[in-house]
């Protein structure tokens, strides 16, 4: 049984069919990629998987459990972590607070703890703080722990997003263009991080990318999405040489 399985997922925005008959199977520990031109519906697929939109049709199961119709935070706490294409950080919070916040679902002290500052709360918050600092250290941003996220460089902000997503203890990590807007140096660092995360946590990773280099190097299997439809699926080599993919990216003449 695959860890994350999507069958026949279709979604309409009004009359517009944004995604049609999307299928996906991710096994534990697998890295898969999703490529496609702008506006193909890649991010929409992520939003459907994470519950921001509810698919018009289709089934999504995570670890054998149906997650269609669950509220986003429940899907996230069942093990679907994600990062965002346009970095979505909380502008008035520090790096450490970000990572601690992602442990929200694990807090059990409840309102009593929050209102009266009970011993249980201090214990739990100390625990998640240790965990958060560990993650920051792993991603090499522990020295920013007390800084406001807005004061960080773009690359560091991406890492904060990654640390935050890892703090939710995901089984499958969805990365939405993790290297968007990065220079070559930052790009190789980010790829190293993705590999490291993959190895240390044994995570399944599903990533959207524009840069073929990243996808080709990291992913075992790649899907190409054009206008909401998967036009080709296979290993990096296959995809690279598929005339349909070249057509979608470069236009008809290049094929001929």
């Amino acid at each position: 049984m695959p860890l994350l399985q999507v069958k026949n997922m279709t979604h309409y925005f009004g009359g517009l069919r944004a995604v049609s008959n999307f299928d996906l199977e991710i096994e534990a520990g697998q890295i898969r990629g999703l490529i496609g031109p702008n506006g193909a519906g890649k991010t929409t697929i992520f939003n459907l998987l994470t519950g921001i939109h509810k698919p018009t049709e289709g089934a999504i199961t995570l670890d054998g459990e149906n997650v269609v119709g669950l509220r986003p935070h429940l899907i996230a706490s069942r093990g679907l972590g994600r990062t965002f294409q346009n970095i979505c950080l909380w502008r008035h919070m520090t790096v450490l607070e970000h990572v601690k916040m992602a442990c929200y679902a694990k807090l059990t002290y409840g309102l009593t703890g929050a209102f009266f500052g009970t011993a249980k709360r201090h214990r739990e918050e100390a625990q998640i703080e240790t965990k958060a600092l560990g993650l920051l250290k792993m991603l090499g941003i522990e020295h920013f722990a007390g800084d406001n996220v807005l004061n960080l460089s773009y690359g560091a902000q991406r890492r904060v997003e990654m640390a935050r997503a890892l703090a939710t203890e995901p089984k499958v990590l969805l990365l939405d263009e993790p290297t968007a807007g990065m220079n070559p140096e930052e790009l190789s660092q980010m790829m190293a991080i993705i590999r490291q995360v993959h190895q240390e946590f044994g995570l399944a990773i599903f990533l959207i990318e524009h840069r073929l280099r990243v996808v080709m190097e990291l992913c075992e299997k790649i899907q190409t999405l054009v206008f909401g439809e998967v036009i080709s699926e296979g290993g990096p080599e296959e995809i690279q040489n598929d005339p349909k993919v070249i057509d979608a990216y470069l236009g008809k003449e290049a094929v001929e």
């Binding site: 935070h73 008035h92 916040m101 209102f115």
Partner: protein, 435 residues
């Protein structure tokens, strides 16, 4: 920190720095003790001194009223304030710093409960002695403390959660009426029911429960805004909350058994200074606890990016629900206290005027900051009273100040600052605190 003289223009910065440097060595306990000495001084020799320098009585509000009413007495009023308040501050602040730091260090190490009781006890003593001089001071102080509660509770929504709630006077009204109906029913003949259920001597014991029930009724009212907040936010939610305010006001106006537009009066006299003070301390403590916990920080996450909050396992609906109900609870408590301090309420009290007042305090003091809310509520309440002799011009001066604050500090005096009590009571490094 910047509280002392915010409105002074730039050329006075030298003075500001001097003042700051002067107090940099003094811990909070030193300032508290000097304030205590000041109020004791006022109790004992205040009258004598006032007569000596040609004032008819002790200046009630740090000489503001006298200065505005009788300009000829300005030197005497200033002299009085200097001798009674500033002199002890300078003497204690300057010459006893080692001793005070030793005390502060001891209190810092002592058990939380002990140091908490000592600090709060001293603070109460100061306020009590200060308010003992006149009824006017007492009333101003009580209303100021209530304003602190309302401002804090509104800051939870408008600051921490970033929604614009206009409904807080409505929550106050719910709390005020609920608790008044309970106390009137139990202890006053012929108001709600013809014969009181309990002897009046029990009133102080029932009063806290009536307040809490009032708070909960406000929380229930808050559901009307919390549920739409799942689906909409920003301006739309602000309009809904404004609608709620009008609903509450009109509903009360049309309910005859609670007096309709004439209001309710003769509540039992149970809200003494100690009660109001303790509720305020509880409010500051609990709200501060809440907003500093990860669960409270979830409010900020919802404000700054709700989608990201959802994706990071934060239960955004629950967060919003808790924020609205919690905030409304405290507004309800404040309303109940307000009703029993004034011992008269009518629906008109809880209208747009009240809303403007509370909003001004929140935005003046600073968003997302417990510290700022306390400062905002205290300074605007005191200012409102101090500028009373200006009559109508008061409503030109205060709004003008608000505009100036917004120009120079767009998010308020002390925004986005954590209120860390341990940081404040720490020996040596301590900001001067406004009383």
């Amino acid at each position: 920190m910047e509280v002392t003289n915010e409105n002074t223009p730039k050329e006075k910065k030298g003075l500001k720095q001097k003042i700051r440097a002067f107090f940099a060595q003094a811990p909070l306990i030193g300032l508290i003790i000097s304030a205590l000495i000041a109020v004791i001084l006022e109790q004992t020799v205040g009258d004598l001194l006032a007569n000596l320098i040609g004032l008819s009585k002790i200046p009630t509000l740090f000489g503001f009223l006298i200065i505005l009413k009788k300009p000829l007495l300005i030197p005497s009023a200033m002299l009085y304030v200097f001798i009674i308040y500033v002199l002890p501050l300078i003497i204690i602040g300057k010459f006893t710093t080692p001793l005070m730091n030793a005390i502060a260090a001891w209190l810092f190490k002592a058990h939380k409960l002990i140091s908490g009781v000592i600090y709060i006890g001293l603070l109460y003593l100061i306020l009590h002695l200060w308010a003992d001089i006149s009824q006017y001071r007492l009333l101003t102080l009580k209303l100021t403390l209530i304003a602190v509660i309302v401002t804090l509770s509104l800051n939870v929504i408008n600051g921490y959660m970033g929604e614009f709630s206009c409904s807080h006077p409505g929550f106050m009204a719910l709390g005020a009426y609920t608790s008044s109906v309970i106390t009137l029913m139990f202890f006053v003949d012929g108001k709600i029911i013809s014969e009181a259920l309990l002897p009046i001597s029990l009133a102080p014991f029932v009063f806290p429960f009536s307040l809490i029930i009032g708070g909960f009724s406000a929380s229930v009212g808050a559901l009307i805004i919390a549920i739409p907040s799942f689906r909409t936010r920003g301006d739309y939610l602000a309009i809904i909350s404004l609608a709620f305010l009008f609903i509450v006001k009109s509903a009360i106006e049309n309910l005859e058994f609670i007096g309709g537009p004439r209001g309710l009066s003769s509540q039992p006299d149970v809200a003494d200074l100690a009660t109001v003070f303790l509720w305020t301390v509880a409010c500051v403590w609990i709200i501060n606890n809440f907003v500093r916990s990860v669960m409270g920080k979830a409010l900020n996450a919802v404000r700054d990016d709700e989608l990201a909050a959802d994706a990071m396992t934060v239960n955004t609906r629950r967060t919003k629900l808790v924020a609205f109900m919690f905030s409304a609870f405290w507004a309800g408590i404040a309303g109940g206290l307000f009703a029993h301090v004034l011992r008269y309420i009518n629906p008109a009290t809880f209208g747009i005027q009240k809303l403007a007042e509370v909003l001004a305090m929140v935005y003046f003091g600073g968003l997302n900051s417990v510290y700022g809310s306390v400062v905002g509520a205290v300074s605007l309440s005191i200012l409102g009273e101090a500028l009373r002799p200006l009559e109508l011009f008061k409503w030109i001066v205060i709004p003008l100040m608000l505009i100036l604050i917004m120009i120079y500090r767009p998010t308020g005096l002390i925004a986005f600052k954590e209120f860390n009590v341990r940081e404040i009571i720490k020996p040596k490094l301590s900001p001067p605190k406004e009383v």
